[in-house]
């Protein structure tokens, strides 16, 4: 009979051995020539899949380097990026940073890029939307290079408009409200249609309505509610739509994904989404109205039409080098190449929102993209929904709470705006 003797020394030895083996394996894997990139899957897809093909291949071949994409959903991605960047060192070289999380504290975790840009510049850097680049400068230092934007527009179901005898989409906000009310009906197919569907958990929509009256929630220079009357009018308009049934009864629980499915199913006539959703909304496999979902720039109010440009809401992602990255030169080399004109246009053909003005002027690109002209125009005056600051998330939560109370009729718009000012003011940087 063989006896297996497990004494303390054996157990300890086995434990140490297993840990050493695992450590060795972990380190050996990390030593291959690989650039680790922290990204959202949409970034990976736009650089590697689609009509323009794999845009990283030439770079990978030229540098004999593999790109290892670690992809996460948006907020987890930002959390992971900041957590990795706060270590003493990290295996990750490049990370994608979203504008709403690009605060001064976050910027300190990223490597300043100006020296890299001076030594080995990105092609025609001035061509990259200056407003987006400016949002990635902190204390004069560039910390991230814009890569992808999502600018919102007004989507409408042309078939439903025709069914109600509406010849053209709205040119002003007042027309939009009127049409949304008329489009709250039961369609010939028997589907109950709501004039407009908006998610209640995103600040993009109330900010868009406020901007249609020339207002805002927090301006780029951190002024809280720069035009109180405009924000009140924006909320009053949303409240009016809700009261008329032109926003869903379930507004308080409506999400971004509901907007997509409602439009695809013909359950809503209007919605506000990034232009990049155009292909999905018209996808014949998903939509009951392929080719009938169109988009325009969100209309401004009649009083401001032709007097001031409308500031569409834009969100964007940018590429950073983690401050503790081991091979920053390799990371910059990647960012530089992925920011070139050719790759930007290729990524746009793969479905990315291009940050270069010249991409929209590319005849080949414009011919393939029905919304290129309108998106380009909207992008020119676009601004982020609110600037990044440490308490931005809490400010946004408060804003949305008050907006919901106003839209649902639990508060009048004036009271809600008053509460927004009172509650958000202490959160703004001194």
């Amino acid at each position: 009979m063989t006896t297996f003797k497990m004494n303390r020394r054996t157990a300890l030895g086995m434990g140490v051995g297993a840990a050493a083996l695992a450590t060795g394996i972990g380190r050996a894997r990390a030593q291959g020539k690989t650039l680790n990139v922290l990204a959202h899957r949409v970034h990976q897809a736009s650089l590697t899949q689609g009509p323009a093909g794999d845009l990283t291949k030439a770079w990978r071949d030229a540098n004999a380097t593999e790109v290892n994409w670690a992809t996460f959903d948006s907020n987890p991605l930002q959390d992971r990026l900041f957590r990795e960047a706060s270590l003493s060192s990290t295996d990750f070289g490049v990370g994608f940073l979203v504008n709403s999380r690009a605060t001064r504290d976050a910027a300190k975790l990223m490597a300043p890029l100006d020296d890299f840009q001076r030594a080995n510049p990105i092609e025609d850097f001035a061509d990259i939307a200056p407003g987006l680049v400016a949002a990635m400068r902190f204390d004069g230092k560039l910390v991230s290079v814009p890569f992808r934007h999502a600018t919102i527009g007004l989507f409408y179901n042309e078939a439903l408009l025709e069914e109600r005898g509406i010849k053209a989409p709205p040119q002003t906000l007042e027309e939009l409200v009127d049409q949304a009310k008329r489009l709250t009906f039961t369609s010939a197919a028997g589907t109950p249609v709501t004039g407009m569907v908006l998610a209640s958990d995103l600040s993009v929509f109330p900010v868009t309505f406020a901007r249609a009256f020339g207002g805002d929630f927090i301006s780029g220079d951190l002024k809280l509610v720069p035009d109180r009357g405009a924000l009140e009018k924006g909320l009053a308009t949303m409240q009016d739509l809700f009261k008329a049934g032109a926003l869903p009864r379930t507004f308080a629980t409506t999400t971004n994904d509901d907007q997509v499915t409602w439009i695809q199913q013909g359950r809503a006539a209007f919605t506000v989404l990034p232009f990049a959703r155009f292909a999905q909304l018209n996808n014949p496999q998903q939509s009951k109205f392929p080719g009938k979902i169109k988009a325009i720039e969100f209309p401004i109010s009649e009083a401001l039409r032709g007097k001031v440009p409308f500031a569409s809401v834009v969100e964007f992602w940018a590429m950073s080098i983690l401050g503790n990255a081991r091979d920053k030169d390799l990371a910059w080399n990647f960012i530089r190449t992925m920011s070139s004109k050719a790759v930007t246009t290729g990524a746009a053909r793969n479905g990315n929102g291009p940050v270069r003005v010249s991409t929209y002027q590319d005849p080949g690109f414009a011919a393939d993209q029905p919304l290129a002209a309108v998106e380009s125009k909207a992008l020119a005056g676009a601004r982020v929904p609110l600037p990044a600051f440490p308490e931005a998330a809490r400010a946004q939560t408060i804003f949305l709470e008050e907006v919901q109370l106003a839209v649902l009729g639990r508060k009048n718009p004036s009271e809600a705006v008053g509460a927004i000012i009172e509650r958000v003011k202490p959160l703004l940087p001194a």
């Binding site: 009979m1 063989t2 006896t3 297996f4 003797k5 497990m6 297993a18 840990a19 695992a22 450590t23 394996i25 972990g26 380190r27 894997r29 990390a30 680790n36 922290l38 959202h40 899957r41 949409v42 290892n68 994409w69 670690a70 992809t71 996460f72 959903d73 948006s74 987890p76 992971r80 957590r83 270590l87 003493s88 990290t90 295996d91 999502a150 028997g190 589907t191 109950p192 994904d257 997509v260 499915t261 695809q264 199913q265 359950r267 990034p274 990049a276 959703r277 292909a279 999905q280 996808n283 496999q285 998903q286 939509s287 009951k288 479905g351």
Partner: protein
Amino acid sequence: MRADRIGIVLGKTAAVAVILLWSLFPIAFMAMSSLKPAREIFAVPPTFVFAPTLEHYTALLVRWPDFFRGLWNSLIVTVGATVLTAIVATMAGYAYSRFRSPALTRSASFLVAVRLLPPIVLTLPLFPLINWLGLSDTHFTLIVLYATFFVSLGTLLMRAFIDKIPVELDEAALVDGAGRGTLIAKIIAPLALPGMLALSVFVIVFAWNEFLFAFVFTSTRAKTAPLIVSEMLGSFDGVDWGVLFAAATIQLLPILIFVCAMQRHLVAGLTSGATKG
């Protein structure tokens, strides 16, 4: 009287039907939606009769190949954590069952206390340590973490099972010259197998579905399937619900079959020690 009994039976049947509907509807909706054409999934009014399609499963295979790598990783981690937990918990359960000392008593309290800590409290401080050790994004880390998380419960469970094994068997084996290792491996473990199976059910269900540890400690190589399902939900280009439901169905199916097959052991595990004394 008879009317009363009929009423009670009808009431019980209705209650069971409601519970079944409540429990099974989400699963049925998910499985059905994975087989529906995309535009039918959220159709109003909903369609219950449709021509089933495998298009979402095909799309899943083409567009999310890493989901299947994630499933493989989930399998490795689940098997590893289960084996490790079963071994460690059996040895620890044996120690708690057969030996008495103040240190053991105190450590038993510690086992319970560990379970009270929210996982996030343990997770974040471990992140820099795991990274420093070069163990980030490895199966090993997840296996050890999952096992660690379940060893305390497993030990208590295995102790209850081993308590039922007569000490005389130990004594006889020791008199015959067996060491403690042989005793546990050849005598105790086979007799405590039902307990190990019950414990395995808990560990497998946990490890297969776990998100938080996998999210914090993996990025690509050891990324498990739940992380990829969560990414499908966060797509900027819109959620492809058909593909998501297909992935969720595939993710759910093995564990559903396993739990159904192991139901007997699960009940045994839950009631272990209940009739002792």
